[in-house]
Amino acid sequence: MADALDQAAETAEEQKDMPATEKDGGAVSASENSAEASNSDDLENISPLAEKPEMPETAETQKPSPPPTEPEPKPEVAAPPKAKVKSKNIPMPDRNEDAPPLDAAEHPPVTVNGRYVVYPSMALKELNSPQAMAYAAEDRREPGRQVFALVCKPGLPTRTHLMRELKGQRIGGLLLMIDFGPVFWHAIDQTTIVVIYERPLGGRFVSSFGDSPPRVNEYELGRLIVDPVAQAVSELTSMDFAHRAIRLDNLFFIDKEKTELVLGECVTAPPGYDQPLIYEPIERAYAMPAGRGEGMSYDDMYALGITAIFALLGFNPVAKYADDELLAGKAEYGSYQCMCGNERIPLPLIEPLRGLLSDEEFERWNTEALENWLNGQKKTPIQRRPAPKPKTAFKFGGRDIRTSRAIAHAFSKNVKEAVKIIKNGKLEQWLRSSLGDSDLADSVAGAITIAKVHESSPDGSDDVLVSKVCMRLDPHGPIRYKNFSFQPDGFGAAMAMEYLRTGNFQLPAEILARDLVSYWVACQENRTPDVNVLEKTYQTLRGFARIAEMGYGMERCLYELNTNLPCQSELLRSAYVGHVDDFLTAIDEVADKVDTHDRPMDKHIAAYIATHFKHDITPHLKAISDSREETSLIGILSLYALMQWRAKTPTLFGLSSWLGGLLSPAIGTYHSRTTRRRIETEIPSLVRQGSLPELFDLIDNAERRQIDAADFEEAQIAFAHAETEIDSVIGEGVDQEKLALQSGEKATAIMALVLSMLATTVIIFVQSV
């Protein structure tokens, strides 16, 4: 056992025994410290969520909070497994540790990339991730190496691009990701991604404390948690990624001695998806879990701050508050005050924690600031700027709300009531008179006017109006539309989750159609280059969404925004297509398992290929979308032939056979039956070769088509000539007998003439003799 842990445990015991006022000499409550630092007497600002009469906003005084062990159910649609609250009410995501074990006989070992053997019957529940189950694994090349496997939930948009970057790269403070790859998992009868990680020998940090609170004293906090996490965040930032899964229960002791902590995995779910709401900065916490966005190192810093508080205190100081109350408190008083306002925080930790929990991104401490602090350098203390205080609270839904951010959140939860208040002008009046923000009041009035102009169209619907007003009230917050809330950089994951959950794109499509992202962009005070890029991206997506052809539509938007999402086609349900180069092989393999009367193409496949295949396939997509079956089939064949030719895929027997069997209408485009019969005879031999380019050449040979067309034209002319001749003989209005008689008369006249000439000649001859 590490010294650190012993020390932490000792400290915890000491603190448990000591009265609050006598705890650690160097530690003062944040409120005291704040009071000292800011020399302010305003107690409201100091301990915002303390049970005080001055705090009407916190529901503590308004309504009883639910018991801490049963957090209020979240309304988000695509919610991850609900956070369980363990270890002194510190929220942790459910890691499916109660899942039953798999039978070894029914579930034999599987291999990842031909090297790592994963044993489905040997679950490692203690290493489970919220979206991935852990199993024992073995490295065939290095049998003694300590590794384990995380089996991802299929269909979830995993962070495959990050997996590629992290693969085999040892990053300080981060659990080493060794390899990953798709594997067919019998238990779910699907192919899914399995990630191989180095096994943390000391186990999970929070598990190391048993029933005791997971606590680290202020002396060890920096070395044990802050330093490695900051190091990991720093390196990930240099790779242009954020971890987005920094939380207390995702820390592991890499060594048996439990001296070195590392961050756990962050690749098996969308960024921030599994994070309990408390770990997320306010603007991302308001979004639904799947829509929290890619985020940046700032978000990791915030999560580190929360993690540090939990580790330092050993419990969740705001456990008794429901999510909405917590967010309202953070919005009004600031995250630091909300979390630590009533707790005793050691003096040296106040500034870093205040820096890490700053609600303004530009003020939040970055890794550099943290390193400086770890090295003993001091940083100018951050002056907290509380949210503007209104003269009177805004009453909505039976609650008094004091910040526009909290109003936006409340409005998004109750659109019906919100519309009434927005339209009757009460909100505008409150913003103008009580909050004193006439600009905001004007913008809200503008949104109401626009809604009135578009009253009869969907753009003027109540949902759109509330969404736009929410964006005005909370410009940095998520876009909220009909319980679908997301940060613009999290739209892709949110849309993916919505599709996986409901099987349709209704809400994301409405959001694109209403152009809400452009409105969000217009609400931003600072038009950064990132925001401009974002706006352009969404304009492109709107263009795609409007086209109702194969390769476009919402499916295209899904894959454009989730470049690592495997193809969601029903045909490929049992396969995993994580890269376009694997597509042909995958569809070739499923050819034997599906009904080959169906086409090997659907909207998802077309959109996936259009997104990932680097060559221009616009004409192919046009042909595939054609209403004529034969053109569509030739389009499919030509696209797959092009893919096989470009990827130099050797043989595709299954797909060739599948397509070969569907080509009758395409063969029917030839006019000549002889040509058709010849093609039909040749198809089986080409199918046996597994070559789609040759099959395509047989079906759609330009020279053969030209000859066929020319011959057909000649045949048409010959047919018309024959018809004319027939018409001249037995056509309508033709008296065949009369004509025949006329012919006979003519013939008789000619015969008489000839006879006359012969007779005169003979007479002349006889007379002359």
């Binding site: 024959a722 003989v729 008789t748 005169t760």
Partner: protein, 188 residues
């Protein structure tokens, strides 16, 4: 011949009458010319070929086939006498003698009668053959069309179908136009 009659049909009645008068003038001029240079021969031909002249007048067949038929055979009966006339010194007297001889006239007119006989019997026999031949031709053409359809499908008849459709449409349009014209005509 057909073209000529077509052209004739294209002319207005006044034009046709004018052209008929013109032909008659030419015939009379030619007769006058021949009367001067070969009067005896002309008398023999006119008298000997009277059945032909009659046939020409009463012939309503297309192309005057009856006249040609009768005339050709009639000429066979007249021609030996013309040759005989040309060998005589006093042609005019000889011609008058010939036309006065009942036997000579019997030969000439019998030849014309044979011509008539040929014209009345042969065309119906020939037409029967022609009908059989035409039916065979139609069957052959239908067979060719069937082969074309078998090889190229029903679309090969697209042009024909289109032409028929166009003809039908045209017919309908003209029919309607006719109806309009009828309707628009003032009624007194």
């Amino acid at each position: 011949m057909t073209d000529q009659s077509q052209r004739m049909q294209d002319l207005t009645p006044d034009q046709q009458r004018q052209r008929g008068r013109s032909y008659l003038t030419w015939v009379l001029l030619l007769l006058a010319f021949f009367a001067v240079i070969a009067g005896a021969t002309l008398i023999l031909i006119i008298i000997g070929m009277l059945p032909t002249i009659v046939a020409f007048i009463i012939d309503r067949s297309k192309g005057k086939t009856a006249s040609i038929c009768v005339g050709s055979i009639n000429f066979i009966g007249v021609f030996p006498y013309i040759l005989s006339l040309w060998s005589q010194f006093d042609q005019l007297d000889s011609a008058m003698a010939m036309v006065g001889d009942i036997f000579t006239l019997l030969v000439m007119y019998s030849a014309a009668a044979f011509g008539w006989l040929l014209f009345l019997t042969l065309p119906s026999i020939i037409s029967s053959f022609v009908i059989v031949l035409q039916q065979r031709k139609v069957a052959q053409l239908r067979g060719e069309q069937k082969d074309l359809i078998e090889e190229w499908g029903e679309d090969v008849a697209a042009i024909v179908e289109m032409q028929k459709l166009e003809a039908q449409e045209q017919h309908m349009e003209h029919g309607m136009e006719g109806m309009h014209e009828v309707d628009l005509e003032p009624r007194f």
